[in-house]
Amino acid sequence: MRPFVYERAEEARSAVAAVADRPDAMYLGGGTNLVDLMRLGVAEPARLVDVSRLPYDTVGVRPDGALRIGAAVRNSDLAAHPAVRRAHPLLAQALLAGASGQVRNMATVGGNLLQRTRCAYFQDITKPCNKRNPGSGCPAREGDHRNLAIIGHSEACVATHPSDMAVALAALDAVVHLEGRDGPRTLPLTELYRLPGDDPRRDTVLDPADLITEVTVPALSFGGRSHYRKVRDRASFAFAVVSVAAALDVAGGVVRDCRIAFGAIAPVPWRARRAEEALRGAPATEDAFAAAARAELGQARPLRDNAFKVPLARNLLVRTLTELVVA
Protein backbone atom coordinates (compact mmCIF):
# COMPACT_ATOMS: atom_id res chain seq x y z
CA MET A 1 0.00 0.00 0.00
CA ARG A 2 1.29 3.46 -0.88
CA PRO A 3 2.16 5.57 2.20
CA PHE A 4 -0.34 8.31 2.95
CA VAL A 5 -0.78 11.26 5.26
CA TYR A 6 -3.77 10.91 7.58
CA GLU A 7 -5.69 13.88 8.84
CA ARG A 8 -8.91 13.98 10.79
CA ALA A 9 -11.33 16.68 9.62
CA GLU A 10 -12.87 18.87 12.32
CA GLU A 11 -15.58 20.42 10.15
CA ALA A 12 -16.90 20.16 6.60
CA ARG A 13 -15.40 23.34 5.16
CA SER A 14 -11.88 22.49 6.25
CA ALA A 15 -12.33 18.93 4.94
CA VAL A 16 -13.31 20.27 1.52
CA ALA A 17 -10.35 22.67 1.58
CA ALA A 18 -8.01 19.81 2.49
CA VAL A 19 -9.06 17.79 -0.58
CA ALA A 20 -9.84 20.59 -3.04
CA ASP A 21 -6.32 21.39 -4.18
CA ARG A 22 -4.83 17.92 -3.93
CA PRO A 23 -5.61 15.51 -6.76
CA ASP A 24 -4.12 12.67 -4.69
CA ALA A 25 -6.30 13.26 -1.58
CA MET A 26 -9.45 11.30 -0.75
CA TYR A 27 -12.08 11.31 1.95
CA LEU A 28 -12.17 8.38 4.37
CA GLY A 29 -15.47 7.25 5.85
CA GLY A 30 -15.82 3.78 7.39
CA GLY A 31 -13.10 2.52 5.06
CA THR A 32 -14.77 -0.83 4.36
CA ASN A 33 -14.36 -0.39 0.59
CA LEU A 34 -11.58 2.21 0.34
CA VAL A 35 -9.10 0.46 2.64
CA ASP A 36 -9.65 -2.75 0.71
CA LEU A 37 -9.12 -0.96 -2.63
CA MET A 38 -5.91 0.58 -1.26
CA ARG A 39 -4.71 -2.84 -0.19
CA LEU A 40 -5.49 -4.16 -3.69
CA GLY A 41 -3.61 -1.26 -5.28
CA VAL A 42 -6.77 0.00 -7.00
CA ALA A 43 -6.84 3.23 -4.98
CA GLU A 44 -3.56 4.99 -4.16
CA PRO A 45 -4.31 8.19 -2.25
CA ALA A 46 -1.33 10.11 -0.82
CA ARG A 47 -3.58 11.76 1.77
CA LEU A 48 -6.71 10.59 3.58
CA VAL A 49 -9.03 13.16 5.11
CA ASP A 50 -11.08 11.29 7.70
CA VAL A 51 -14.64 12.62 7.69
CA SER A 52 -16.13 9.79 9.74
CA ARG A 53 -16.19 11.86 12.94
CA LEU A 54 -17.73 15.01 11.50
CA PRO A 55 -20.97 15.95 13.31
CA TYR A 56 -23.19 14.33 10.65
CA ASP A 57 -23.87 11.27 12.76
CA THR A 58 -27.56 11.56 13.62
CA VAL A 59 -30.90 10.62 12.07
CA GLY A 60 -33.71 13.14 12.49
CA VAL A 61 -37.37 13.26 11.53
CA ARG A 62 -38.67 16.63 10.30
CA PRO A 63 -42.21 17.77 11.20
CA ASP A 64 -43.39 16.81 7.69
CA GLY A 65 -42.12 13.27 8.25
CA ALA A 66 -39.02 13.58 6.08
CA LEU A 67 -35.89 11.82 7.29
CA ARG A 68 -32.60 13.67 7.69
CA ILE A 69 -29.76 11.19 7.63
CA GLY A 70 -26.24 12.34 8.49
CA ALA A 71 -23.60 11.07 6.06
CA ALA A 72 -21.49 9.68 8.90
CA VAL A 73 -24.35 7.58 10.33
CA ARG A 74 -23.32 3.94 10.35
CA ASN A 75 -25.39 1.58 8.21
CA SER A 76 -26.38 -0.49 11.24
CA ASP A 77 -27.66 2.55 13.18
CA LEU A 78 -29.75 3.72 10.24
CA ALA A 79 -31.27 0.26 9.75
CA ALA A 80 -32.20 0.07 13.44
CA HIS A 81 -33.71 3.55 13.65
CA PRO A 82 -37.41 3.34 14.65
CA ALA A 83 -38.55 5.92 12.07
CA VAL A 84 -36.82 4.05 9.25
CA ARG A 85 -38.30 0.71 10.33
CA ARG A 86 -41.79 2.18 10.66
CA ALA A 87 -42.10 4.56 7.71
CA HIS A 88 -39.55 3.19 5.21
CA PRO A 89 -39.21 -0.56 5.77
CA LEU A 90 -37.67 -0.99 2.31
CA LEU A 91 -34.73 1.19 3.42
CA ALA A 92 -34.18 -0.78 6.63
CA GLN A 93 -34.41 -4.05 4.69
CA ALA A 94 -31.98 -2.85 2.00
CA LEU A 95 -29.43 -1.85 4.64
CA LEU A 96 -29.82 -5.13 6.51
CA ALA A 97 -29.46 -7.09 3.25
CA GLY A 98 -26.05 -5.53 2.70
CA ALA A 99 -22.69 -6.94 3.81
CA SER A 100 -22.27 -8.38 7.34
CA GLY A 101 -22.98 -7.13 10.85
CA GLN A 102 -19.34 -6.13 11.27
CA VAL A 103 -19.21 -4.21 7.99
CA ARG A 104 -22.55 -2.48 8.66
CA ASN A 105 -21.17 -1.27 12.01
CA MET A 106 -18.27 0.39 10.19
CA ALA A 107 -19.78 1.59 6.91
CA THR A 108 -21.14 5.13 6.70
CA VAL A 109 -24.10 6.33 4.63
CA GLY A 110 -21.90 8.64 2.54
CA GLY A 111 -19.34 5.91 1.94
CA ASN A 112 -22.04 3.40 1.03
CA LEU A 113 -23.26 5.74 -1.73
CA LEU A 114 -19.74 6.23 -3.11
CA GLN A 115 -18.48 2.64 -2.93
CA ARG A 116 -17.00 1.28 -6.15
CA THR A 117 -18.14 -1.60 -8.29
CA ARG A 118 -17.13 -5.12 -7.26
CA CYS A 119 -16.49 -6.12 -10.91
CA ALA A 120 -13.60 -8.60 -10.57
CA TYR A 121 -11.60 -6.93 -13.34
CA PHE A 122 -11.86 -3.51 -11.70
CA GLN A 123 -10.48 -4.98 -8.47
CA ASP A 124 -7.57 -6.82 -10.14
CA ILE A 125 -4.78 -4.44 -11.16
CA THR A 126 -3.16 -7.11 -13.33
CA LYS A 127 -6.18 -6.93 -15.68
CA PRO A 128 -7.25 -4.24 -18.12
CA CYS A 129 -10.22 -2.12 -17.00
CA ASN A 130 -11.53 1.07 -18.59
CA LYS A 131 -12.85 2.30 -15.25
CA ARG A 132 -9.50 1.92 -13.52
CA ASN A 133 -7.20 2.49 -16.48
CA PRO A 134 -9.01 4.38 -19.27
CA GLY A 135 -8.46 2.96 -22.73
CA SER A 136 -7.06 -0.36 -21.51
CA GLY A 137 -10.18 -2.28 -22.49
CA CYS A 138 -12.97 -4.23 -20.80
CA PRO A 139 -12.25 -7.95 -20.41
CA ALA A 140 -15.64 -8.42 -18.76
CA ARG A 141 -17.46 -8.02 -22.09
CA GLU A 142 -16.08 -11.35 -23.30
CA GLY A 143 -15.05 -12.72 -19.90
CA ASP A 144 -16.81 -13.25 -16.57
CA HIS A 145 -19.88 -11.04 -16.65
CA ARG A 146 -22.58 -13.29 -15.26
CA ASN A 147 -23.26 -10.81 -12.48
CA LEU A 148 -22.72 -7.59 -14.43
CA ALA A 149 -25.08 -5.15 -16.11
CA ILE A 150 -27.98 -5.80 -18.45
CA ILE A 151 -29.12 -2.21 -18.78
CA GLY A 152 -27.46 1.22 -18.92
CA HIS A 153 -24.02 -0.21 -19.64
CA SER A 154 -21.75 0.76 -22.53
CA GLU A 155 -19.16 -0.67 -24.89
CA ALA A 156 -16.50 0.62 -22.46
CA CYS A 157 -17.92 -0.70 -19.17
CA VAL A 158 -20.49 -3.26 -18.04
CA ALA A 159 -19.97 -2.92 -14.26
CA THR A 160 -22.87 -2.74 -11.78
CA HIS A 161 -23.27 -0.51 -8.74
CA PRO A 162 -23.04 -2.71 -5.65
CA SER A 163 -25.07 -0.79 -3.03
CA ASP A 164 -28.33 -2.12 -1.64
CA MET A 165 -29.07 1.05 0.36
CA ALA A 166 -28.80 3.26 -2.71
CA VAL A 167 -31.48 1.22 -4.50
CA ALA A 168 -33.99 1.92 -1.74
CA LEU A 169 -32.95 5.58 -1.61
CA ALA A 170 -33.36 5.87 -5.40
CA ALA A 171 -36.92 4.56 -5.09
CA LEU A 172 -37.62 6.98 -2.25
CA ASP A 173 -36.62 10.17 -4.14
CA ALA A 174 -33.78 10.80 -1.67
CA VAL A 175 -31.81 14.03 -1.95
CA VAL A 176 -28.06 14.21 -1.40
CA HIS A 177 -26.69 17.26 0.43
CA LEU A 178 -23.16 18.27 -0.47
CA GLU A 179 -20.46 20.63 0.69
CA GLY A 180 -18.20 21.56 -2.20
CA ARG A 181 -15.64 24.08 -3.47
CA ASP A 182 -18.40 26.66 -3.99
CA GLY A 183 -20.36 25.94 -0.81
CA PRO A 184 -23.35 23.70 -0.12
CA ARG A 185 -25.75 22.33 -2.72
CA THR A 186 -28.22 19.47 -3.18
CA LEU A 187 -28.73 16.81 -5.80
CA PRO A 188 -31.46 14.19 -6.27
CA LEU A 189 -29.84 10.83 -5.57
CA THR A 190 -30.84 9.54 -9.01
CA GLU A 191 -28.82 12.39 -10.53
CA LEU A 192 -25.78 11.67 -8.34
CA TYR A 193 -24.83 8.67 -10.47
CA ARG A 194 -23.83 8.74 -14.12
CA LEU A 195 -23.92 6.05 -16.79
CA PRO A 196 -20.47 5.02 -18.08
CA GLY A 197 -20.83 5.94 -21.76
CA ASP A 198 -17.33 6.30 -23.20
CA ASP A 199 -15.90 7.58 -19.89
CA PRO A 200 -16.47 5.00 -17.16
CA ARG A 201 -13.86 6.42 -14.79
CA ARG A 202 -16.32 8.42 -12.76
CA ASP A 203 -19.31 6.68 -11.13
CA THR A 204 -20.89 9.96 -10.07
CA VAL A 205 -21.15 13.59 -11.17
CA LEU A 206 -19.27 14.70 -8.05
CA ASP A 207 -16.07 16.69 -7.98
CA PRO A 208 -13.39 14.92 -5.89
CA ALA A 209 -13.70 17.65 -3.24
CA ASP A 210 -17.50 17.30 -2.96
CA LEU A 211 -18.35 15.97 0.49
CA ILE A 212 -21.71 14.30 1.17
CA THR A 213 -22.97 15.71 4.47
CA GLU A 214 -26.55 14.49 4.62
CA VAL A 215 -29.23 12.54 2.78
CA THR A 216 -32.87 13.55 3.10
CA VAL A 217 -35.76 11.24 2.34
CA PRO A 218 -39.13 12.91 1.78
CA ALA A 219 -42.15 11.49 3.56
CA LEU A 220 -44.06 8.94 1.50
CA SER A 221 -47.64 8.31 2.56
CA PHE A 222 -47.47 4.68 1.44
CA GLY A 223 -43.87 4.14 2.47
CA GLY A 224 -45.04 1.71 5.12
CA ARG A 225 -46.24 -0.59 2.33
CA SER A 226 -42.85 -1.23 0.82
CA HIS A 227 -40.28 -3.97 0.51
CA TYR A 228 -36.69 -4.61 -0.56
CA ARG A 229 -36.07 -8.04 -2.00
CA LYS A 230 -32.61 -9.29 -2.90
CA VAL A 231 -31.57 -12.37 -4.85
CA ARG A 232 -28.02 -13.54 -4.23
CA ASP A 233 -25.86 -16.60 -4.74
CA ARG A 234 -25.83 -17.49 -1.03
CA ALA A 235 -28.32 -16.76 1.73
CA SER A 236 -26.36 -13.96 3.39
CA PHE A 237 -23.29 -11.72 3.08
CA ALA A 238 -23.20 -11.60 -0.72
CA PHE A 239 -23.75 -8.91 -3.28
CA ALA A 240 -27.04 -8.94 -5.15
CA VAL A 241 -27.58 -10.78 -8.41
CA VAL A 242 -30.77 -8.76 -8.81
CA SER A 243 -32.66 -6.73 -6.23
CA VAL A 244 -35.80 -4.61 -6.23
CA ALA A 245 -37.05 -1.86 -3.95
CA ALA A 246 -40.77 -1.16 -4.25
CA ALA A 247 -43.51 0.82 -2.52
CA LEU A 248 -47.13 0.44 -3.56
CA ASP A 249 -50.31 2.43 -3.00
CA VAL A 250 -53.41 0.43 -3.94
CA ALA A 251 -57.05 1.48 -3.54
CA GLY A 252 -60.04 -0.46 -4.81
CA GLY A 253 -57.84 -2.89 -6.67
CA VAL A 254 -56.16 -0.11 -8.64
CA VAL A 255 -52.58 1.14 -8.34
CA ARG A 256 -52.78 4.78 -7.28
CA ASP A 257 -49.04 5.29 -7.01
CA CYS A 258 -45.79 3.35 -6.74
CA ARG A 259 -42.01 3.66 -6.45
CA ILE A 260 -39.72 1.07 -8.00
CA ALA A 261 -35.95 0.72 -8.35
CA PHE A 262 -33.75 -2.22 -9.35
CA GLY A 263 -30.28 -3.07 -8.04
CA ALA A 264 -27.39 -5.06 -9.56
CA ILE A 265 -28.69 -4.80 -13.13
CA ALA A 266 -27.11 -1.47 -14.08
CA PRO A 267 -24.09 0.79 -13.49
CA VAL A 268 -26.35 2.88 -11.25
CA PRO A 269 -29.20 2.19 -8.82
CA TRP A 270 -31.88 1.86 -11.51
CA ARG A 271 -35.03 3.85 -10.86
CA ALA A 272 -37.76 2.13 -12.93
CA ARG A 273 -39.78 5.13 -14.08
CA ARG A 274 -41.21 3.34 -17.14
CA ALA A 275 -42.55 0.58 -14.92
CA GLU A 276 -44.01 3.13 -12.50
CA GLU A 277 -45.67 4.99 -15.38
CA ALA A 278 -47.16 1.75 -16.71
CA LEU A 279 -48.55 0.89 -13.27
CA ARG A 280 -50.22 4.14 -12.22
CA GLY A 281 -53.96 3.65 -12.76
CA ALA A 282 -53.53 0.01 -13.74
CA PRO A 283 -55.27 -2.88 -11.95
CA ALA A 284 -53.18 -4.32 -9.11
CA THR A 285 -52.84 -7.71 -10.77
CA GLU A 286 -49.96 -10.00 -11.66
CA ASP A 287 -50.60 -9.37 -15.36
CA ALA A 288 -50.30 -5.62 -14.89
CA PHE A 289 -47.16 -6.06 -12.76
CA ALA A 290 -45.60 -8.23 -15.47
CA ALA A 291 -46.50 -5.65 -18.12
CA ALA A 292 -44.87 -2.94 -16.04
CA ALA A 293 -41.72 -5.06 -15.70
CA ARG A 294 -41.65 -5.54 -19.46
CA ALA A 295 -42.05 -1.80 -19.99
CA GLU A 296 -38.85 -1.26 -18.01
CA LEU A 297 -36.83 -4.29 -19.00
CA GLY A 298 -37.60 -3.95 -22.70
CA GLN A 299 -34.57 -1.64 -22.72
CA ALA A 300 -32.30 -4.41 -21.45
CA ARG A 301 -29.32 -5.50 -23.57
CA PRO A 302 -28.00 -8.52 -21.69
CA LEU A 303 -24.51 -9.90 -22.25
CA ARG A 304 -23.68 -13.47 -23.30
CA ASP A 305 -23.98 -14.98 -19.81
CA ASN A 306 -26.42 -12.77 -17.94
CA ALA A 307 -29.63 -12.87 -19.96
CA PHE A 308 -31.13 -14.76 -17.01
CA LYS A 309 -31.24 -11.47 -15.12
CA VAL A 310 -34.05 -10.18 -17.37
CA PRO A 311 -36.68 -12.76 -16.34
CA LEU A 312 -35.23 -12.80 -12.83
CA ALA A 313 -35.78 -9.05 -12.47
CA ARG A 314 -39.26 -9.37 -13.95
CA ASN A 315 -40.27 -12.21 -11.63
CA LEU A 316 -38.76 -10.46 -8.62
CA LEU A 317 -40.78 -7.32 -9.31
CA VAL A 318 -44.02 -9.23 -9.92
CA ARG A 319 -43.65 -11.24 -6.73
CA THR A 320 -42.67 -8.23 -4.62
CA LEU A 321 -45.62 -6.14 -5.84
CA THR A 322 -48.02 -9.07 -5.49
CA GLU A 323 -46.99 -9.54 -1.87
CA LEU A 324 -47.37 -5.81 -1.21
CA VAL A 325 -50.99 -5.97 -2.42
CA VAL A 326 -51.73 -8.74 0.06
CA ALA A 327 -49.73 -7.16 2.89
Partner: protein, 174 residues
Protein backbone atom coordinates in the same frame (compact mmCIF):
# COMPACT_ATOMS: atom_id res chain seq x y z
CA UNK B 1 6.38 13.20 1.84
CA UNK B 2 4.36 13.36 -1.39
CA UNK B 3 6.24 11.68 -4.19
CA UNK B 4 8.30 9.41 -1.94
CA UNK B 5 7.58 5.99 -0.54
CA UNK B 6 8.68 6.69 3.02
CA UNK B 7 6.16 5.56 5.61
CA UNK B 8 3.99 8.12 7.36
CA UNK B 9 3.49 7.65 11.08
CA UNK B 10 1.11 8.97 13.70
CA UNK B 11 0.85 8.57 17.44
CA UNK B 12 -2.49 7.42 18.82
CA UNK B 13 -3.90 6.32 22.14
CA UNK B 14 -6.01 3.20 22.44
CA UNK B 15 -7.66 1.52 25.42
CA UNK B 16 -7.21 -2.17 24.73
CA UNK B 17 -8.90 -4.58 27.13
CA UNK B 18 -8.87 -1.90 29.82
CA UNK B 19 -5.21 -0.92 29.41
CA UNK B 20 -4.21 2.44 27.91
CA UNK B 21 -1.60 2.38 25.18
CA UNK B 22 0.17 5.20 23.37
CA UNK B 23 1.41 3.79 20.10
CA UNK B 24 3.19 5.23 17.07
CA UNK B 25 1.82 3.50 13.99
CA UNK B 26 2.38 3.54 10.25
CA UNK B 27 -0.77 5.23 8.95
CA UNK B 28 -1.30 2.18 6.72
CA UNK B 29 -1.52 -0.22 9.67
CA UNK B 30 -4.81 -1.96 10.26
CA UNK B 31 -6.10 -2.33 13.79
CA UNK B 32 -5.50 -6.06 13.33
CA UNK B 33 -1.79 -5.57 12.60
CA UNK B 34 -1.40 -3.17 15.52
CA UNK B 35 -3.02 -5.65 17.91
CA UNK B 36 -0.95 -8.57 16.68
CA UNK B 37 2.40 -6.95 15.85
CA UNK B 38 2.62 -4.05 18.35
CA UNK B 39 0.60 -5.27 21.34
CA UNK B 40 1.25 -8.99 21.02
CA UNK B 41 -2.48 -9.75 21.17
CA UNK B 42 -2.61 -12.58 18.68
CA UNK B 43 -6.12 -13.81 19.43
CA UNK B 44 -7.68 -11.91 16.54
CA UNK B 45 -6.63 -13.73 13.37
CA UNK B 46 -5.75 -12.64 9.86
CA UNK B 47 -7.82 -14.85 7.58
CA UNK B 48 -8.71 -13.10 4.33
CA UNK B 49 -7.55 -9.55 5.21
CA UNK B 50 -10.49 -8.27 3.12
CA UNK B 51 -13.36 -8.19 5.62
CA UNK B 52 -14.92 -11.33 4.22
CA UNK B 53 -14.13 -14.05 6.78
CA UNK B 54 -14.59 -12.42 10.21
CA UNK B 55 -11.57 -14.07 11.87
CA UNK B 56 -10.30 -10.61 12.85
CA UNK B 57 -13.54 -9.50 14.56
CA UNK B 58 -13.04 -7.35 17.67
CA UNK B 59 -15.23 -4.88 19.55
CA UNK B 60 -14.60 -1.14 19.17
CA UNK B 61 -16.50 0.92 21.74
CA UNK B 62 -18.66 -2.17 22.22
CA UNK B 63 -19.47 -2.76 18.56
CA UNK B 64 -18.14 -5.63 16.48
CA UNK B 65 -16.03 -4.69 13.47
CA UNK B 66 -13.51 -6.25 11.08
CA UNK B 67 -10.12 -5.22 12.48
CA UNK B 68 -8.49 -5.92 9.11
CA UNK B 69 -10.47 -3.15 7.36
CA UNK B 70 -10.05 -0.66 10.17
CA UNK B 71 -7.13 1.76 9.93
CA UNK B 72 -5.66 1.99 13.44
CA UNK B 73 -4.86 5.67 13.00
CA UNK B 74 -8.57 6.46 12.63
CA UNK B 75 -9.35 4.93 16.05
CA UNK B 76 -7.43 7.44 18.20
CA UNK B 77 -9.14 7.55 21.60
CA UNK B 78 -11.22 4.39 21.13
CA UNK B 79 -11.74 1.41 23.43
CA UNK B 80 -10.99 -2.01 21.96
CA UNK B 81 -12.01 -5.39 23.34
CA UNK B 82 -10.33 -8.45 21.86
CA UNK B 83 -10.94 -12.09 22.67
CA UNK B 84 -8.21 -11.76 25.33
CA UNK B 85 -10.41 -9.22 27.12
CA UNK B 86 -13.68 -11.17 27.19
CA UNK B 87 -12.98 -13.20 30.33
CA UNK B 88 -13.18 -11.67 33.79
CA UNK B 89 -9.91 -12.89 35.25
CA UNK B 90 -10.14 -16.68 35.38
CA UNK B 91 -13.91 -16.55 34.89
CA UNK B 92 -14.75 -17.17 31.26
CA UNK B 93 -17.32 -15.02 29.51
CA UNK B 94 -20.65 -16.89 29.23
CA UNK B 95 -20.18 -17.12 25.46
CA UNK B 96 -16.77 -18.74 25.94
CA UNK B 97 -18.25 -21.30 28.36
CA UNK B 98 -21.07 -22.01 25.92
CA UNK B 99 -18.63 -22.58 23.04
CA UNK B 100 -16.78 -25.15 25.17
CA UNK B 101 -19.96 -26.86 26.38
CA UNK B 102 -21.37 -27.09 22.85
CA UNK B 103 -18.10 -28.12 21.17
CA UNK B 104 -18.48 -25.07 18.95
CA UNK B 105 -15.03 -25.21 17.36
CA UNK B 106 -12.60 -27.65 15.87
CA UNK B 107 -9.29 -26.10 14.76
CA UNK B 108 -10.06 -22.88 16.62
CA UNK B 109 -8.69 -20.43 14.07
CA UNK B 110 -11.99 -18.61 13.55
CA UNK B 111 -13.05 -18.92 17.19
CA UNK B 112 -11.75 -15.58 18.57
CA UNK B 113 -13.64 -13.80 15.80
CA UNK B 114 -16.73 -15.96 16.33
CA UNK B 115 -16.68 -15.16 20.07
CA UNK B 116 -16.29 -11.40 19.63
CA UNK B 117 -18.91 -11.40 16.89
CA UNK B 118 -21.32 -13.37 19.11
CA UNK B 119 -20.83 -10.85 21.94
CA UNK B 120 -21.70 -8.13 19.41
CA UNK B 121 -24.76 -10.04 18.20
CA UNK B 122 -26.05 -10.41 21.76
CA UNK B 123 -25.64 -6.67 22.39
CA UNK B 124 -27.31 -5.77 19.08
CA UNK B 125 -30.26 -8.05 19.83
CA UNK B 126 -30.55 -6.63 23.35
CA UNK B 127 -30.73 -3.16 21.78
CA UNK B 128 -33.63 -4.39 19.62
CA UNK B 129 -31.80 -4.24 16.29
CA UNK B 130 -33.58 -6.16 13.53
CA UNK B 131 -31.90 -8.33 10.90
CA UNK B 132 -32.88 -9.01 7.31
CA UNK B 133 -34.72 -12.18 8.39
CA UNK B 134 -36.75 -10.33 11.05
CA UNK B 135 -40.36 -10.62 9.85
CA UNK B 136 -41.86 -7.80 11.90
CA UNK B 137 -39.57 -4.76 11.81
CA UNK B 138 -41.61 -3.05 14.53
CA UNK B 139 -41.10 -5.89 17.03
CA UNK B 140 -38.05 -6.74 19.13
CA UNK B 141 -36.61 -9.84 17.50
CA UNK B 142 -35.91 -13.04 19.46
CA UNK B 143 -32.58 -14.72 18.70
CA UNK B 144 -33.80 -17.99 17.18
CA UNK B 145 -31.68 -20.15 14.90
CA UNK B 146 -32.53 -18.22 11.72
CA UNK B 147 -31.67 -14.92 13.38
CA UNK B 148 -28.37 -16.24 14.74
CA UNK B 149 -27.34 -17.72 11.38
CA UNK B 150 -28.10 -14.47 9.56
CA UNK B 151 -26.42 -12.25 12.14
CA UNK B 152 -23.29 -14.44 12.25
CA UNK B 153 -22.94 -14.63 8.46
CA UNK B 154 -19.86 -12.42 8.56
CA UNK B 155 -17.93 -15.20 10.35
CA UNK B 156 -16.83 -18.18 8.31
CA UNK B 157 -15.72 -21.53 9.79
CA UNK B 158 -13.87 -23.88 7.47
CA UNK B 159 -14.25 -26.75 9.92
CA UNK B 160 -18.00 -26.33 9.63
CA UNK B 161 -18.75 -26.02 13.34
CA UNK B 162 -21.74 -23.86 12.51
CA UNK B 163 -24.39 -26.10 14.03
CA UNK B 164 -22.73 -26.02 17.44
CA UNK B 165 -21.86 -22.32 17.17
CA UNK B 166 -25.55 -21.54 16.65
CA UNK B 167 -26.46 -23.74 19.62
CA UNK B 168 -23.88 -22.05 21.86
CA UNK B 169 -25.06 -18.56 21.00
CA UNK B 170 -28.69 -19.63 21.33
CA UNK B 171 -28.08 -20.86 24.85
CA UNK B 172 -26.52 -17.58 25.96
CA UNK B 173 -29.28 -15.61 24.26
CA UNK B 174 -31.94 -17.32 26.36
Amino acid sequence: MDGTNLPETATITLDVNGVDHEITVDTRSSLLDVLREHLDLIGAKKGCDHGQCGACTVLVDGRRINACLQLAVALHGSSITTVEGLADGDGLHPIQRAFIEHDAFQCGYCTPGQLCSAVGVLAEAAAGWPSVVTQDLSATPALDGDEIRERMSGNLCRCGAYVNIVAAIGEVAE
